[in-house]
Symmetry: C2
Subunit: 116 residues, 2 copies
C-alpha cells in the first residue's frame, strides 16, 4: 500500500494530521464522554432529564428499567460529566451537566433528521 502518491500534497496532509493529533489523554477523555452517551439505556436517561431534574425513582419510571440498572448507568454518566447529582433529603436528584449536553443531542438529532 503506497497511497495516492501522485498527489504528494496528501503526504503533507497526512503528516500535518499526524502532528496536530490530540494527545492520547485528550482522545481518551473525548471517547469516554461520547461512550457515556452512546448506549440506548443512557440516552433514554438523558432524554428524560431534558424534562427537568429527577430522582432515581422517577428516572427509573421514565425509562422503564430497574433501579439497579439505572443506578449503574447514572454512575457512568456522572463520571463522564454528562449529568450532575445533588442530594435532596433521602433522594438524589439528577440533572444534565450543562448546555453542551443538550446542544450535542440537538445536533445529533438534526444530523439524523430526527424530530427531537
Amino acid at each position: 500500500m503506497k497511497g495516492c502518491e501522485h498527489e504528494a500534497l496528501h503526504d503533507d496532509l497526512a503528516e500535518r494530521a499526524r502532528q496536530s493529533m490530540p494527545d492520547d489523554e485528550s482522545i481518551l477523555s473525548l471517547a469516554a464522554a461520547f461512550k457515556a452517551i452512546s448506549e440506548p439505556s443512557r440516552l433514554k436517561i438523558l432524554f428524560a432529564l431534558r424534562q427537568g431534574e429527577m430522582c432515581v425513582y422517577h428516572i427509573t419510571r421514565a425509562v422503564g428499567s430497574t433501579q439497579s440498572a439505572v443506578s449503574h448507568q447514572l454512575r457512568i454518566l456522572r463520571e463522564g460529566h454528562i449529568i450532575r447529582a445533588r442530594r435532596d433529603g433521602q433522594n438524589i436528584v439528577y440533572s444534565l451537566a450543562d448546555a453542551h449536553v443538550v446542544a450535542v443531542l440537538a445536533l445529533a438529532c438534526e444530523h439524523l433528521n430526527c424530530a427531537f
Copy 2:
C-alpha cells in the same frame, strides 16, 4: 422504592418524560451515531479528516494504525453516517459527512476544556 412522592409534581414530570421519549428506533440510531465516534481509534480518524479528505493509506499513516484496522473502523463511521466515501481511481477518499460532525467535536472539546 417510592420516589420523592412528597413532590407529586415529579410524578407528572416522569410521566411526561415517559411519553415524550423518542421511539426505540430513533434511540438506536442516535446510539449508533455516538457509538461510532466514541472509540479512540475512530476519533483519531475524525481528527485526521478535519485536515481535509484523505485516502485510506494516508489516514492509516495519520493515525498510526494498520490498513485492516482502519478499514474496519471506516466502515463503522460510514454506516453511522459520520463520514463519506468517494472513489478516486484506485483510491477511496474519505471526508467528514457534514458540519454537524465538526460541530459536535467542537462542543465536546469545549465541554471538556480541551484545546481542539
